[in-house]
Amino acid sequence: MDFATVLQVFDSTVRLATPLLLACLAGLYSERAGIFDIGLEGKMLAAAFFSGAVAAVTGSVWLGLLAGIAASMALSGIHGLASITFRGNQLISGVAINFLAAGLTVVIAQDWFQQGGRTPSLVGGARFSPIELPFAEAVKDVPIIGQTYYQLISGHTALVYIAFAMVPLTWWLLFRTRFGLRLRAVGENPAAVDTAGVSVIGIRYAAVAICGLLCGIAGAYLATALQAGFVKDMTAGRGYIALAALIFAKWRPWYALSSTLLFGFLQAIALRYQNIDLGGFVVPVQFMDALPYILTVVILAGFVGKAIPPRAGGEPYAKER
């Protein structure tokens, strides 16, 4: 395998890891505040559709992005209402959101565009285009460093850079600011926050809103950057993979970066090497496609050491009598 191929695989890893990373960080905010969110998948899907649809109609990818974020945050609002205000079961609310998004996106797409549940293909300004970083063209022939810069670092869409910038930002917000301290406390022991005179409900809604925002960006990325338009079920379980990555990452931002890169890498390998020949035995393409999902199951089954979730996760907060 030559260096160019390696770079191509890594490049594809970055592109495939981006939606996972955004969704994983989205889940991190929500779960760190004590709200389990199994509805990442549904929120991404809704965002993918609405961003694709609005971009197709208006021709503006930025309007599409806003529409995607709005759709995802609306679903977050529903989740917040169900699990914070009405103290419902967070898993059930999340599952409902996934069903809602899976059904509604296809139905509305068919009604609006009559293309079998997809949006028209996005062209030109309706898609995010790659950003050429400074000097990329000039150094692209410099061995190793220049090649890496040109191939791997430069030439991604704005959303990729936003996603990676979110990692240090999230770390800083969680561990260096008042908001982060309160958010983490609310996920560990909401009574401590409440008795300190801070609104538990307010902080949890804020966390859920950030979760909606990031899921919205992730969904929009799928429809307007990674691919050109929305297709039915285009999230393909990425919301669940992001949840697995979150557990793998032990609810920490930097670990989230590594775990989503790992999943992205597996997807990139599966995409590039459809059939791997191991000296006479050919690994079937289906196995390669299934690999990221198999890893998800393995991780969710708890084979990766002890991961302690936020202690108050999944429990609605009510003042005790």
């Binding site: 260096r176 600011t177 908001f179 301290l181 560990e188 401590a192």
Partner: protein, 521 residues
């Protein structure tokens, strides 16, 4: 000058807290009925009452956790409505809850600044808090490592963090809800020193408790609550434990246990060289030898965590150990399939566990279901091969509840809806009514109302007088001294010594509990 202002303030100044006509109902239950109270600044005011008398509700109203249905709150003479905790904190009220409100995996510093940060960034708040904590630690003997995680601290230290939280918010009025329930005697003494220091600095302290000894020991004035009403407020110096107990319960209470001298018979339990190693590889029992005779109560004293729990668990068949245990001269299996709790019960060992809510009862199950656990294989409870005779069990439970004065006497209520004392009576009825040769009983009156304590003690004495052997484990020295016929003190998994209750006192036992051998000292 200091003394002048202090006495002057006490006589003429407005009360630090004044409540007028506070009422609060939870559905049909009237938790607080028209309560009025005045607490003068710079004093320690006790509020005493049985569980469920409404003490905690009243303080939660003062802290803005609940909203009163009626009534007014005055702070330093000014009418101050307190709709939420934020307002209470601003009014200078700090509260130390019975169950601490700390974030377990945060450091002490982070817990202290939570909700009282100075700005959007943490760094300045943290360094300011570090300085303040250092000052408070010197001023009030409130030493805690600011960088330690809460989960690594002892309960006593966690409590200090709660007090520090309140002081960091510049509280002038400090409310403590049952602060000594989880503390060792030494930790409790330290807490009282802290409270005295705070009082000296002019802080006002409200202490909620059901322990008469603490009230007599540290408070200046005391209010008694019974069934949601304030029945009396008196100066502590002008009252006595007997009078307070009577006010709490509404009738005369025997604080001393009334019992005949023991008439011990043959050995029922003989333990030799008993050792227990826990899951972490720590040796918790280091070669215990003891015996209990028929018609005798052996009390095991000790600070919690010195192996008493393991001793009860091994004897009760809940944990494994090595050594030798004999019941009426017969060796008991310590390993194998006849070493479990059920086999022990079959051999006449009844066990009232220390933690009744986790080990003694299933809280969501009904009283009648709970009243046969451990004995549910008894043929008397079976209708046929597959079905249990529920009607018979319910009938029997009704009888037990009547004999043990469980209130309300409804076998169909879940265990969790009974008060602590009544839960204990359900467990006690289950174990005692099987007529065991040996009763193991841990912390029989922890979290139990004073009226029920009296009843439970009587039941244990009656069992003794019926010629049974009793092994009593308690962290309450008073209980050990008044109940036992012999006292063994445990420290660090060993028996430090045996004493007769009439020949020893709290001081000597306290030394043994601290690992200091009485004869040497």
């Amino acid at each position: 000058m200091n003394t002048v202002t202090q006495t002057g303030r006490q006589e003429t100044a407005a009360p630090a807290i004044e409540l007028r006509g506070i009422s609060k109902a939870f559905g049909p239950v009237q938790a607080n009925k028209d309560i009025s109270i005045r607490v003068m600044p710079g004093t320690i005011h006790g509020i005493i009452g049985e569980n469920g008398a409404g003490k905690s509700t009243l303080m939660s109203i003062l802290y803005g956790f609940y909203k009163a249905d009626a009534g007014e709150i005055f702070i330093n003479g000014n009418l101050t409505p307190i709709p939420d905790s934020q307002t209470a904190i601003r009014a200078g009220i700090g509260m130390v809850f019975q169950h601490f409100k700390l974030v377990q995996n945060f450091t002490v510093l982070e817990n202290v600044i939570l909700g009282a940060e100075d700005g959007a960034l943490l760094r300045p708040s943290l360094s300011k808090a570090r300085g303040t904590l250092k000052r408070l630690a010197e001023e009030y003997e409130l030493n805690v490592d600011p960088d330690a995680l809460i989960e690594d601290l002892s309960v006593g230290h966690q409590q200090r963090v709660e007090i520090l939280k309140a002081l960091y918010r510049e509280a002038d009025i400090l409310i403590l809800d049952e602060p000594t329930g989880v503390l060792t005697p030494a930790e409790a003494d330290h807490l009282f020193r802290i409270l005295e220091n705070l009082k000296r600095e002019g802080k006002t302290i409200i202490l909620i408790t059901h322990k008469l000894r603490e009230i007599m020991h540290i408070t200046d004035t005391v209010s008694v609550m019974r069934r949601g009403e304030m029945t009396a407020t008196v100066k502590t110096a002008e009252t006595s434990p007997e009078k307070l107990a009577e006010l709490m319960v509404g009738r005369k209470v025997l604080l001393r246990v009334d019992k005949k001298p023991a008439a011990p018979g043959a050995n029922v339990l003989e333990v030799e060289n008993l050792r227990v190693v826990d899951e972490d590889g720590v040796e918790r029992l280091k070669g215990i030898s003891l015996n209990v005779r028929a018609g005798e109560i052996l009390g095991i004293a000790g600070v919690a965590g010195n192996g008493q729990s393991q001793l009860l668990e091994v004897l009760g068949g809940v944990a494994h150990g090595t050594g030798s245990i004999r019941i009426k001269g017969q060796e008991i299996d310590l390993t194998g399939k006849h070493s479990d709790a059920q086999s022990r019960r079959a051999r006449g060992i009844a066990h009232v566990p220390e933690d009744r809510q986790r080990e003694g009862l299933i809280m969501d199950f009904t009283a009648w279901e709970n009243s046969v656990f451990g004995y549910h294989h008894d043929p008397a409870y079976q209708k046929n091969k597959f079905l249990m005779d529920n009607a018979a069990i319910q009938n029997e439970t009704e009888g037990k509840m009547e004999r043990f004065d469980v209130r309300p006497p409804d076998p169909n209520l879940p265990a969790k809806s009974f008060s602590g004392g009544n839960q204990q009576k359900i467990v006690l009825a289950r174990e005692i009514e099987r007529n065991p040769d040996l009763l193991l009983i841990g912390q029989p009156t922890r979290g139990v109302d004073i009226g029920a304590i009296e009843f439970i003690h009587q039941q244990i004495i009656e069992l003794r007088d019926a010629g049974k052997a009793i092994l009593l484990v308690s962290v309450e020295l008073e209980e050990i001294l008044s109940m036992s016929d012999r006292i063994a003190v445990m420290f660090d998994g060993k028996i430090m010594g045996e004493r007769l209750p009439q020949e020893t006192d709290e001081k000597e036992l306290g030394l043994l509990m601290a690992g200091v051998n009485g004869e040497v000292a």
